[in-house]
């Protein structure tokens, strides 16, 4: 069954929103995400471009500065809510995992 848009966040969406807790140039996210995740997660430049547009449309982020083609963004309250929901979902999954496999599996 297809996931409703932003009902759950992919890893890439999650880390892009995380980067935007502080004001940040869009392009800089391409470097921050791999740095933040020790190169575990990479966001493609095209994917990032599309995600920023989609987040803007959903008012999950907003533009703070426009300097020519360089734009800065920051997460909105709605974006923070979506991020928090995703965090709770992942935590719930982790808790369920630990209940089944126990602490020694970690």
């Amino acid at each position: 069954m297809p996931r409703a848009k932003f009902q759950t966040l992919t890893e890439q969406m999650f880390y892009v929103l995380l980067c935007l807790k502080e004001e940040c140039y869009g392009m800089d996210i391409l470097d921050r995400v791999p740095a933040m995740t020790n190169n575990r997660v990479n966001v493609g430049s095209g994917t990032l471009y599309n995600l920023l547009e989609q987040f803007m449309d959903e008012q999950m982020i907003r533009e703070t500065k426009v300097e020519g083609r360089r734009r800065s963004y920051i997460i909105t309250e709605k974006g923070k809510e979506m991020l928090a929901k995703e965090y709770e979902r992942v935590c719930a999954q982790m808790k369920d995992y630990l209940e089944i496999f126990g602490e020694e599996s970690v």
Partner: protein
């Protein structure tokens, strides 16, 4: 050794996988894509090397944009940040390359990628597919309707039959193209939801050569068959006009872009100009074609005019294979003979009449049609049509009686035929016959008071049945 080369690409618009693999192979052979136009891709010479390519679909871009939009330039900068350079672009289709080993792909979210491909295809191709399919269906329905309405006129016209075949081929290709894409998209969407990856795009580059080959074979067959310098010239004019029209429309659209006309106005004006030029071209070609066909079909022999009761009439002298003089003796020599012939690669249709002048209507007249069937499969259909039209131009009684018209099978051997039918209306023999020979079917009509003798029947078979 030249530093550039041009190729005609044979890829579907959405064949991302095929295009990337092709460009990668070209780079390994020392060619890098530098320009894409409507029909041609241009490559420049480089040192052979391994380069990664990424075909990206940018739905917001338009073929009518006077220059790359701000969002497009932004996108390009994003890609440059991760080492991807724009090689070439053509509206919604953009090709990036990266010389690094295992670079981060431009697209790392399959569902977003698929969504962009779908938006780009819907914007670039969906209206064209719909128009082609609807138009193709309309043309094919019209083709079969005309075939049904006037079978021999249609089948004896090579251009008409070839046009019908071309429309059928074009419709199949349009449906196939759309079907292949939507089937792939449906599978790719399901796969992406589970695997977060995109399956390879389908390859059907055979469609383009099939179109080119079909058109070429059709035109060759047409020109070889029709003969007659004027018809060949007409066919060449058609092809040249279509090429000039396409080039003119592309030139005008590019001119609008050069003067920085907005994309919306450019698109609207280009569509209007395309429609106007197309209509103009069709009108010109139809006028020329009608003129050419009229000239081609114009009577080879002269005619003379004569006066009768204050009116002027024409008496023609066409050459016809069977004349009244071959069948019976007569002192009358002022017959008007008319022969109309149509020939295609399927049948030859010849209709001949020999009529006395208006001042001698008591003289006998003769009318016959010979359908030479070149393709044996069509024989029974031709016979059926001739039998169905046997009593054409005769009146029917009111109320209509089902058994009023009869096609009586008569002795064919006297005609030298395989089978023979006689028209009987309301119990009266009409002296009208359909004769079936091995390769042709003859319909012959004698005067109402002319019952052909056995010798006359044999002569008909000898002259018309071979």
């Amino acid at each position: 050794m030249t530093d550039t080369k041009k190729v005609v690409p044979l890829f579907a618009f959405y064949d991302k996988t095929g295009i990337e693999e092709y460009l990668k192979k070209q780079a390994e052979e020392g060619w890098l894509l530098e320009k894409m136009s409507e029909l041609i891709w241009q490559f420049r010479k480089i040192e052979p090397k391994k380069i990664e390519f990424s075909v990206v679909y940018f739905p917001k871009a338009s073929a009518f944009d006077p220059k790359p939009s701000e969002s497009q330039l932004s996108f390009e900068e994003f890609c440059e940040h991760t080492g991807w350079q724009l090689a070439a672009s053509k509206a919604k289709l953009q090709v990036y390359y990266n010389e690094a080993e295992s670079p981060t792909p431009i697209e790392t979210d399959a569902q977003i990628q698929l969504n962009n491909i779908n938006k780009a295809v819907n914007g670039a191709y969906l209206p064209t597919w719909i128009i082609n399919i609807v138009h193709g269906i309309f043309q094919i329905v019209l083709f079969f309707y005309t075939l049904h309405a006037d079978y021999f006129k249609s089948v004896s016209s090579s251009p008409y039959m070839l046009a019908g075949v071309c429309w059928i081929v074009m419709l199949i290709l349009a449906i196939t193209d759309a079907f292949v894409y939507f089937r792939w998209h449906r599978k790719a969407k399901k796969y992406a939801e589970v695997n977060d990856d995109i399956i390879s795009t389908p390859r059907h580059c055979f469609l383009i050569p099939v179109v080119i080959l079909t058109t070429f074979m059709g035109m060759t067959l047409l020109m070889l068959h029709m003969g007659g310098n004027s018809m060949i010239v007409w066919a060449i004019m058609y092809c040249v006009s279509a090429i000039i029209m396409t080039a003119l429309i592309l030139f005008i659209s590019k001119l609008f872009k050069r003067i920085r006309m907005s994309s919306k106005i450019n698109r609207a004006l280009t569509i209007v100009i395309t429609v106007l030029i197309s209509i103009g071209l069709v009108v010109v070609l139809l006028v020329l074609a009608e003129d050419t066909i009229r000239v081609a079909n114009s009577r080879k022999s002269d005619y003379i005019t004569y006066e009768y009761k204050g009116h002027t009439y024409k008496a023609f002298g066409d050459d016809i294979p069977l004349r009244i003089a071959n069948l019976r003796s007569s002192d009358y020599e002022e017959y008007s003979t008319v022969c109309a012939e149509r020939d295609s690669f399927l049948i030859n249709y010849m209709k001949a009449t020999e009529e006395p002048r208006w001042n001698a209507l008591e003289q006998p007249e003769l009318e016959y049609t010979v359908v030479t069937v070149k393709v044996p499969l069509l024989y029974n259909m031709c016979l059926k049509v001739m039998l169905d039209n046997f009593s054409k131009n005769y009146g029917y009684p009111e109320p209509y009686e089902a058994d009023w018209e009869q096609h009586k099978e008569v002795d064919a051997t006297v005609w030298g035929a395989n089978s023979a039918y006689e028209l009987v209306l309301g119990g009266e023999v009409q002296n009208r016959y359909i004769l079936c020979y091995e390769h042709c079917i003859v319909e012959i009509k004698f005067d109402y008071d002319w019952q052909p003798t056995e010798e006359q029947k044999a002569m008909v078979g000898e002259v018309l049945g071979k």
